[in-house]
């Protein structure tokens, strides 16, 4: 029987850096021994002195732990998949068998491994909005094992949401979105701790709520909240993963502390009525799927410290031309919030700000600065 054996990152130096190797045999033990004969270093990693599979290694056949089958005597069939998962540093303790299996596709990647998966499990991510963008973000973060997910949303599920908001289903109409969101998240992954914030974020509650999280992901549907979330993240030095959508187009970027913010890109909101909301203008239902998934990927990259974040780049997606383009973003030294001489140093009235009326305190500060 010819089978594929998946080699975990830490063991690949023993198999010529191959992540997947073919082997043969009629049982798991035979297939592993065949490999051991081909790669002597692999043999010493996987087998103990008595010739059995070492205790520090878990072996899965087609995603099932062989410990729950017939151990290394489990028979294998043509094309079966064997995965080898080494115990994490500190021993296998701290990981349940279910966790090792659930996250095996992460753990086998050297860029993630057990350490990275542990970072995901320890991460606390706050999603602003459990709607179009928040749905795919929440589901993928939950599936990935992000341990704590906060949901901020005051709304109840409406039938018109279901064209795109996959956190909720037809039976949820009328239910608070944070409740149906929690159910979907825990159906996907029961070990995620969902914290429900059924409220409208405002200048009174934003600092307290956001301070409890490591990363904020924006999926809200209005300008006042976007400026509020931005300013709060700047004040609290929290990374903000940002996305927005309308019609057939989406935008995404990441604002890291000290490297520019939403106000550097959009210093002022459009006058009310100038840019329609999704409710007024419409949105292609799949679009938030793309943009929300990009937000989820960026969040995971930040948690794992992997790759190049979208920080400093505005990613534009046009579904009609099926094009992704990038614009360069910079921190604006004149930015009123994160610039060299900030004039806004505490949260303001964002409804008023978005009506184009500067708050009295802000107007006064501006006058002092100019004077």
């Amino acid at each position: 029987m010819s089978v594929n054996v998946y080699i975990p990152g830490p063991f690949r130096s023993a198999t010529g850096n191959m992540a997947k190797v073919e082997s043969e045999g009629s049982t798991v033990a035979e297939a592993l021994r065949t490999l051991g004969n081909r790669y002597p270093a692999f043999k010493s990693l996987v087998f103990d002195l008595n010739g059995g599979v070492a205790d520090h290694v878990a072996v899965f056949l087609n995603n099932r732990d062989i410990g729950t089958l017939q151990g290394d005597q489990t028979a294998i069939g043509e094309g079966d998949e064997i995965s080898i998962v080494p115990a994490m540093s500190g021993g296998a303790s701290g990981w349940s068998e279910e966790q090792i299996l659930r996250y095996s596709r992460h753990i086998v990647m050297p860029q993630v491994g057990g350490k990275g998966q542990r970072k995901l499990l320890n991460a606390k991510v706050l999603l602003i909005g459990a709607g179009g963008l928040g749905s795919p973000t929440a589901m993928y973060l939950a599936a990935a094992g992000v341990g704590t997910i906060g949901l901020v949303d005051a709304d109840v599920v409406d039938l018109s949401n279901l064209q795109r908001q996959l956190l909720h289903d037809t039976n949820d109409v009328g239910k608070p979105k944070v409740d149906s969101g929690q159910e979907r998240i825990n159906d996907l992954n029961p070990e995620v701790n969902v914290i429900k914030h059924r409220l409208y974020l405002n200048s009174e509650n934003a600092m307290e709520i956001i301070s409890g999280y490591d990363i904020v992901v924006n999926g809200c549907d209005n300008f006042p909240t976007r400026y509020l979330v931005n300013d709060t993240c700047v004040f609290l030095k929290k990374p903000l993963v940002d996305g927005s959508i309308l019609f057939f187009e989406g935008q995404a970027t990441v604002y890291l502390p000290g490297k520019g913010c939403y106000r550097c890109v959009y210093p002022a909101p459009p006058p009310p009525g100038m840019v329609p909301s999704c409710a007024e203008g419409g949105v292609l239902g799949v679009l938030p799927g793309i943009v929300g998934c990009i937000e989820a990927i960026e969040t995971i990259k930040l948690i794992l410290g992997l790759g190049e974040s979208l920080s400093g780049r505005l990613l534009l997606f046009d579904a009609l031309s099926m094009e992704f383009r990038q614009m360069k973003l910079r921190r604006d030294p004149q930015c009123p919030v994160c610039g060299d001489h900030p004039t806004v140093t505490e949260l303001i009235d964002y409804e008023e700000f978005c009506l184009g009326i500067a708050s009295p305190t802000e107007a006064a500060r501006e006058a002092i600065r100019i004077g």
């Binding site: 187009e249 959009y266 840019v275 614009m327």
Partner: protein, 91 residues
């Protein structure tokens, strides 16, 4: 100078539905002027009463924000790509 202008969906109504326009102009201001002549209404969406670029619409030349170049007088050359990117709040 033949310049390519990328038009976002909210402004395509002004441009008979086109997403890319070809325009001439030696700088951004001239480019906006010729847009206005061919597709009336553009200037008002991009500039305020005093002729300055509106703060909630960003214009990028070859991916660089013109606010960090020469603003409305940013020079353009043949083959440049001007992208109009409005703030969008939907989620």
């Amino acid at each position: 100078m033949s310049i390519k202008v990328r038009v976002p969906t909210p402004l395509r109504g002004l441009a008979s539905g086109q997403d890319v326009l070809t325009i001439t102009g030696d700088n951004l201001l001239q480019c906006i002027d010729s847009l206005e002549i061919q597709y009336p209404g553009f200037r008002d969406r991009l500039c305020d009463e005093s002729g300055e670029l509106r703060r909630f619409v960003n214009i990028y030349v070859n991916g660089e924000d013109v606010r960090f170049l020469d603003g409305i007088t940013t020079p353009l050359k043949a083959g440049d790509e001007v992208s109009i990117v409005p703030a969008v709040a939907g989620g």
